[in-house]
Amino acid sequence: MSDIVERTLTALPGLFLQGQPGGGPAAAKAPFSSRLGGLVRGVTALTSKHEEEKLIQQELSSLKATVSAPTTTLKTMKECMVRLIYCEMLGYDASFGYIHAIKLAQQGNLLEKRVGYLAVSLFLHESHELLLLLVNTVVKDLQSTNLVEVCMALTIVSQIFPREMIPAVLPLIEDKLQHSKEIIRRKAVLALYKFHLIAPNQVQHIHVKFRKALCDRDVGVMAASLHIYLRMIKENSSGYKDLTGSFVTILKQVVGGKLPVDFNYHNVPAPWLQIQLLRILGLLGKDDQRTSELMYDVLDESLRRAELSHNVTYAILFECVHTIYSVYPKSELLEKAAKCIGKFVLSPKINLKYLGLKALTYVVQRDPTLALQHQMTIIECLDHPDPIIKRETLELLYRITNSQNVTVIVQKMLEYLHQSKEEYIIVNLVGKIAELAEKYAPDNAWFIQTMNAVFSVGGDVMHPDISSNFLRLLAEGFDDETEDRQLRVYAVQSYLSLLDVENAFYPQRFLQVMSWVLGEYSYLLDNEKPEEVINRLFKLLMSDSISSETKAWLIAAVTKLTPQAQTSSTVERLIQEFTVSLDTCVRQHTFELKHLHENVEVMKNLLPVNKSCEDLVVDASLSFLDGYVAERLSQGAAPYKPHHQRQEEKLSQEKVLNFEPYGLSFSSSGFTGRQSPAGISLGSDISGNSAETGLKETNSLKLEGVKKLWGKEGYLPKKESKAGEEMEASPAPLENAVSENMDQAGTRRDQAPVLAQSKEEKEKQLLASSLFVGLGSESQINLLGKADNVSHKFRRKSKVKEAKSGEAASARDLTCSSLHSPSHVAHEENDYLTALQDRGSAEAEEFPLGSELLDPESVSELPVVGKLSDCALSAPSLFADSDMEVFHPPSSAAASASAAAPVTAEIALASSFLEETTEDVRSGRVEVCSDETVTMSSYKLWKDDCLLMVWSVATKSGSELKSANLDIFPAENFKTSEQPGCCLPAAEAGSTKTFQYRLQVERPFTEETLSGSVSYQRVDTHAVQLEFSVNLSLLDFIRPLKISTEDFGKLWLSFANDVKQNIKMSEPQAALPSALKTLQEKVRLHVVDVRGNEGLLACRLLPSTPSLLHCRVHADGLALWFRSSCPALPDCLSYQCQKAIEGS
């Protein structure tokens, strides 16, 4: 059979090319009389949705009867599936057929099987439970001798496959990489790509094989491997620089027409492959001169070869231009690329023009002068009838905005905004306008008016950050006091006049902004009494179109104004009116106002004028409660327990029913998971008592079905519906929003040569000169970055990053790249881990292994005094709660770089830490960056409830360090917060400054880089900024979880997410103790119990996400089984454990 298929496979392309497509197409044409054809015709003929629904429901019920009838043949079933697919496509539920699709894939002959697989891929999604039933079929088909079946199996695997079942098919697919048929190899690569997408850790070991695929003799296989490479290079380009040569060679061959002719598309050799390669090169060459130099030739050739002849060559050219502007610049190529863009932009074809504008938008970020060359075209595009062209032009203008052309550009954007009706466009545009206004506003009036337009049009759909940023800007002010005052006064005046307009409706968000500003700053107006303002606000409050959230804002504003008002009957009326309000929030605000109103003195104290930016001093330790706590304790109250402890206790109490005598029949029934994989060898090594399995199965199923009302933090309330806020009132356009000085700005820079041009032409010239002002040669343009000579008007004081950008720019060249390579970290960590291990084993020699693992406290019970000298230079134990604290000496690499003075400083600093950090373990100090005057080092402090990163900056000369600031860039997977009281007084005085940051994990990850910058004032008074980065591993956030075996069992059953992993070992029987020890020491897992050849371990991810591990020794290795309440954690943890065990 397989022979025939193989032969057909090779023969068919030939047949096909001869234009005699055999019976296939003819057969495909035939089934018009089929039921599907009838159905489609029926549906097409209908006129209403209602009729369609009736017809489809009818069809579905007949299908339901057919598929569940036992006599239905597979052929009929296949037809039914196609009809079901059609019904689902129209949006009707056909879930009764899912199981039959799986059956069809299992039992059918080739075509039926294919349709079965197709239906499965269309019906199900990755986490659908029925998908597990398909795994067996896939495994069987992968081993089939029929190539077509293998192909199908590989296709379905690369479309949809349950993540936890990957180990079951992975070896089979790996084998297929060596298959003799290209199509199989190609599909295998694509399947591995899918695995890389959903579980990158599981395919990490076969990266070498990807390289082989890249060098495959078949183009298809090579092309398939590019998908994997593009993704991996996007994640981390530095790891693949060595492949640049290969990619360049491949592209050269493709461009040079060396591929088989059938890869051509309209005589262009493999255009999509070219695009893919260009994209990879762009990523590789970014900011890397050496790598970029390798590709200049081939980029040049691509540009040359892709003559403008067919649409697809435009696509290649576009990508080529994109790449040329992404890699390290080369002037010759840039020139050619610019010419190419010019051709696009000038083309009358809309698609090409769009492409040109898009390229230009990307390019102007690198080289704004290019926009100058095309200014007239851009002006024309602004009035282009096609909205897409118009929008792309605005996007381009947005990128070239500076403080000189901002008024004109924003005016153009506002014009477009007023015409737009689509929510998406409004949200997008409003965000951009707000950003530009804040950055480049020429004066107060313009700024406020522009923001008024933003708020009234963007209203309730815009991003909430816009209004809060605006308010913060007003509140925090700028460097100039009188400026601040003017801006605030202007805002107040503008809002008061807006509120006086009869019958005007404003979005809720705008009203909230107004009420805050009026409440806060109306005191600045001399001619306006607070009573008057209160009256206005009250009038607004009584209006029907106000949402209750806005009401709360309004009442808060009134509350702020009340102490300033002499007497106000309005306030009393307000209190009367709203103390009976049905809305709790409004009522509470009113009651607060009521009680404060009774005591004006307190009120004045509580609500001082213009103090919105004063920091409130909060006693975080709640020390004022100490007396109370002591009193209660003496009366026998229960002492306080930290959150995670309560959590654990609660969890173990909540799961009430423990079905089996856990301790006794542990190995036979303890771990038969609910996701018992049907027939997969993985699960079968844990033999299960069937009755108990059944019992557990039902138990767990129930748990899954139950709506999740209670979470870790307690009751999970539903997100408050915001429907009430939406207002019917359409935003009124603001007349005064269009500022007069637009025209002034337009004329200001009228340098265009006025020849014998028509009036229209002149207008355009005028517009151009105002739009593109500041882009020309009169202002210095930096090729690699938009340098703005004009300082921004609204520069916030508080935002260090923004404020220092100007001053720091001159010293940018000092920016040092991080010295801190990952290997360095690894080395560092290993250092201390080995130290730990050594010490652990030395001490525990007399203890049997079991007790050592199970009872880490025993370590601390050893006489501390005796050990002190031995351990003086090693890190303290991770697990022992030892009282003594020893400091790891500054790492040699860090220390050698710095002179004597900083070292002493460090020691002084270290000793000042001593009291604080006695209970925590810390890493060695590592230098992260330095320049000629300062050196910066960091270390990690593994606290029980968080990871504390400590950075210290020291001057090399020992001179005083002025105003050092640390700024941590936001990271995706965790959040950082400055530890209050971070600056230690002892260190502050001298040449060292220390920063402490608390790190909390938001999402589990394996490796992550945290970067930031430090800026300081040099003696010669200019600011210097240094960038640095630190590598973090998941392990930094893992802490042992000490629980009992019983609790472990309960927790195990309550977790839904699991991952299994097999690790091959040479001597598995002996491996368990050492593996457990490795896991305990390197991954910080707590060993809960050891029974025969099984071990139980537990840990928590900070702050308190528990995760459990069950490991079991079997014939050829160690089976690890992770479970956790957090979906992503088991996978990450499994990777770390595997690494730890294999590394030991």
Partner: protein, 140 residues
């Protein structure tokens, strides 16, 4: 990865009825209809846009619509649509809207060309070879 979220690929006729939706990410079935209605409305009237761009190409009464994200090379996708139609044309010899009734075949062809939002095969011969074998075996 090519962030080529060729997100939904749809075929619709002039009456606005969907003929062939292909999602590269799982979308809840209840959202299908909503999304598709919006997309179809958009293409037939051509006005709006969401956080992905819609690209369409018209063949007689048939519209082929692809949603792509912002980083995608639109022209490449535009030409990919044409490539797809050419493949259909080769298979059905003179493809017409009626051929879309062969839902399964069209899907199988598309599966060969598009996987996880990536263009994986554009070589016409290679796309059709396995399908032709299927047809042959089912005939005999």
């Amino acid at each position: 990865m090519i962030k080529l979220f060729l997100m939904p690929l749809l075929m619709v006729n002039k009456q606005g009825q969907t003929q062939l939706p292909k999602y590269c990410e799982h979308v809840d079935i209840n959202k299908h209809t909503l999304l598709e209605t919006e997309v179809i409305k958009t293409c037939l009237s051509r006005s709006s846009e969401r956080d992905f761009k819609l690209l369409y190409r018209q063949y007689a009464a048939l519209f082929i619509v692809v949603g792509v994200n912002d980083t995608e090379n639109e022209m490449a996708v535009y030409e990919f649509i044409h490539n797809f139609v050419e493949v259909l044309d080769a298979y059905f010899s003179q493809v017409s809207e009626l051929d879309m009734f062969n839902l399964d075949k069209v899907h199988i062809i598309l599966d060969k060309m598009l996987l996880n939002g990536c263009i994986v095969e554009t070589n016409r011969t290679r796309i059709l070879a396995p399908l032709l074998i299927l047809d042959k075996t089912s005939e005999s």
